[in-house]
Symmetry: C2
Subunit: 442 residues, 2 copies
């Protein structure tokens, strides 16, 4: 049996590794346009910042490693250009030469492409997106001759990049269309805490306004926002991604509202074609609506599910909360599930609990502020959570995600069993305190 996987990101490689873990015989091929594999695009801002020394450090494994340790064949700098799903063949091109690979199972892990706003100047020298390691290398080189940078889009990657440039000594201006930063996973009140922190670090913000155009002859000289021109030498477009579905269309699999349609086994409309990662659409756990989940964590989870199903072990990919975390400077920011803002848009009645607590007992040295906001439905069930702090944030969001998935109520979280030690906790777990705040409002 032979499995061909198109895409060498987290989704594709996790599928490959999962198959190999349970089956030693299946032939596995991974095709990727890129030169590098097995790196985390989420790490790019930290290399720009200098926190991680070089881009080579973030490459976890080489094709040689995959061949020797896992007997997985990786074809780098190879583009899959067509799929014949009847004949079960993939046409690829490498160095101008055509390669035909036949398959028993095909896995589409084609990822996504940065969205480029349809405005003037996006093709000027000095305009970058932050998607792959090559982008990172180019930015690192180009920034040496820059003094001022504009980051368009105040999502996690945009803010991580903004902070990185600031630490490297550049003047940084962030432009965001929404009236707040991090609109996808924080409410305005929680986003303000983060914005204040970044402003204190010297980063400037323009909110509620779109980028109108990028100005320059050959290279970037400025940007225009709300008819005002700002002089900058470099522009980072961090305005979201769009799923890559062209190959899927050629294969003839069904496309849904946003991306490739898959069932809970990660199977497309064609039985022996699976799809995983940024190129598929998923179901939102709270609203039950179709949505996208372009996160490394989702890619890994889907790769595991696809891999298990391909080797004949049943596994299901369940609807997502789009739980996410970002570390910007000393600040750790995370969210999961519904925000109060999006609940309001969707006319879902909610009760909010909010607390400013500490990460350790009050008297234990090193404790830091910890802000927690919990969103409950009017049936008392937890629907979402947001945490901003300096330590111990990620794992609390994972706990809240688990609570949402298991239908826990405000009482369950208030009276939950939490361990305690003054060096690592308050005796009243902050999640319990936030739930208590909500409880008084029911």
């Amino acid at each position: 049996m032979k499995v061909v996987i198109i895409g060498g990101g987290a989704a594709g490689l996790t599928t490959a590794s999962t198959i190999r873990k349970y089956n030693k015989d299946i032939e596995i091929y991974v095709i990727t346009k890129e030169k590098d594999i097995a790196y985390s695009p989420c790490a790019i801002p930290y290399v720009i910042e200098g926190k991680i020394k070089s881009f080579d450090d973030i490459i976890m494994h080489t094709p040689k490693y995959y061949k020797e340790k896992k007997n997985i064949n990786i074809l780098t700098e190879t583009e899959a250009v067509d799929i014949d799903s009847k004949e079960q063949k993939v046409k690829c091109v490498k160095d101008g030469e055509e390669i035909i690979l036949d398959y028993d199972y095909l896995v589409l892990a084609t990822g996504s492409t940065p969205f480029i706003p349809p405005i003037d100047g996006v093709n000027l020298e000095g305009v970058f997106t932050v998607k792959n390691i090559e982008d990172g290398r180019k930015i690192l080189e180009y920034m040496k001759k820059c003094k001022r940078v504009a980051v368009i889009g105040a999502g996690a990657i945009g803010l991580e990049m903004a902070y990185a440039f600031k630490k490297r000594g550049l003047d940084v201006l962030v432009v965001e269309m929404a009236p707040q930063i991090l609109p996808r996973f924080l409410d305005p009140d929680m986003a303000e805490i983060v914005q204040k922190y970044l402003e204190d670090e010297g980063i400037k913000f323009i909110l509620s306004k779109p980028l109108e155009k990028i100005i320059g002859k050959e290279r970037v000289e400025g940007i225009c926002v709300d008819k005002v021109v700002y002089d900058v030498d470099m522009v980072i477009l961090s305005t979201g991604v769009r799923p890559n579905i062209e190959l899927a269309k050629k294969a003839g699999v069904n496309i849904g509202k946003y991306a490739i349609k898959v069932n809970e086994k990660m199977q497309t409309s064609i039985n022996n074609i699976y799809a995983v990662g940024d190129c598929v659409e998923v179901i939102d756990f709270i609203t039950k609506e179709k949505t996208l989940s372009p996160f490394g964590s989702t890619a890994v989870r889907q790769g595991k599910v696809a891999g298990l199903n391909i080797v004949g072990r049943e596994a299901k990919f369940t609807p997502v909360l789009n739980s996410a975390v970002s570390k910007i400077g000393k600040l750790e920011i995370a969210g999961t599930g519904l925000t109060a803002f999006s609940a309001n848009l969707k006319r879902i009645p909610v009760v909010v609990g909010k607390i400013k607590a500490l990460s350790r007992a009050r008297y234990y040295p090193g404790g830091k502020d910890l802000y927690i906001k919990l969103i409950f439905g009017d049936n008392r069930k937890i629907l979402g959570g947001q945490i901003v702090g300096y330590e111990r944030v990620s794992e609390r969001i994972d706990l809240i995600s688990l609570a949402i998935r298991n239908g826990l109520t405000v009482e369950d979280l208030y009276l939950g069993e939490y361990c305690y030690c003054p060096a690592t906790k308050m005796v009243n777990e902050p999640i319990s305190l936030a739930a208590e705040d909500a409880l008084t409002k029911f």
Copy 2:
């Protein structure tokens, strides 16, 4: 209405504060033998270590604060000596004077007393237990003239004290009857990691052997273990606690197998008498057997439940996992639910998943080793977890506790939704990796 609470620890004060949060009119009296209230006994070792500067720092609030901010009356250095549950009166003694308090509701939060092994020498000068702030103050004074200390009992408090003395320059010998340290919440393989760390810090251990006697004329001069004499100047007895149930017996409430019997509302066999904290017995979530849960976290949870029920809001205290965490030096150690060792004793068949992972992405600076062990029943459900690491341990144990309580399976934990950012996590959450290890064994 008038509530009298006997005991000024976490259980008693949480009951008082919870009542006040929901009812402004109830008269509340808290009686305590001690001079200080509202401090965390768990913090004592960190003051001894010098990590926290003084015992005054760990006192969160004064009786004056409770009176002024919460209208809660605290009678310090006052001993409740008898209870007439028919007449609904408590007889107290303060400075030799008798005080009679009548009540509508009585809450027994009488705590526990350190267990003193029945051996020679326990009354010598230089023998201490670690229970209240006075113990701490005496130890801090006495250690000034000591060079060598023996800590009897390798539970969390014992080891925290051992580390504290070592940091203060004393030679430290730990004596434990069990063949491993931390026998209550770690399996031997996980305990070894902790022991190795403490041995590297210079602490010596004698395992599998009981303390035979303490030697000395007026003050401690040595201890005898397995017929060998070890010269020490001070002995810390950290050999567990026994519930204080004498007053409960006088009140006539039912006593169970180990301590005061309560229902899930924290009500004793007499309707208007509640009991909370170390003096009550609880139900083990896994085995459904009666057990004790002498933890600050449990005390707080029980105080909330008792308080809510007293003000007429329904709340239930659910069976315990006895989830616990300790920080010793740089090491954070936590456990919840069943260990493989205790499963074996109880003939519960289990499957174990174990992983050595990292606390951050491999390439992100500052990541540290993280050891996770998960225990699953043969029905694939999670029954217990143990984590040893240097950061981000407590919250993961809370997540595992939540998973146990909600009947999650090995697949649920393997394919759970975990957030990701290289600065705070591996893209493969270590809990998922430990579950994966177990999955391959089913």
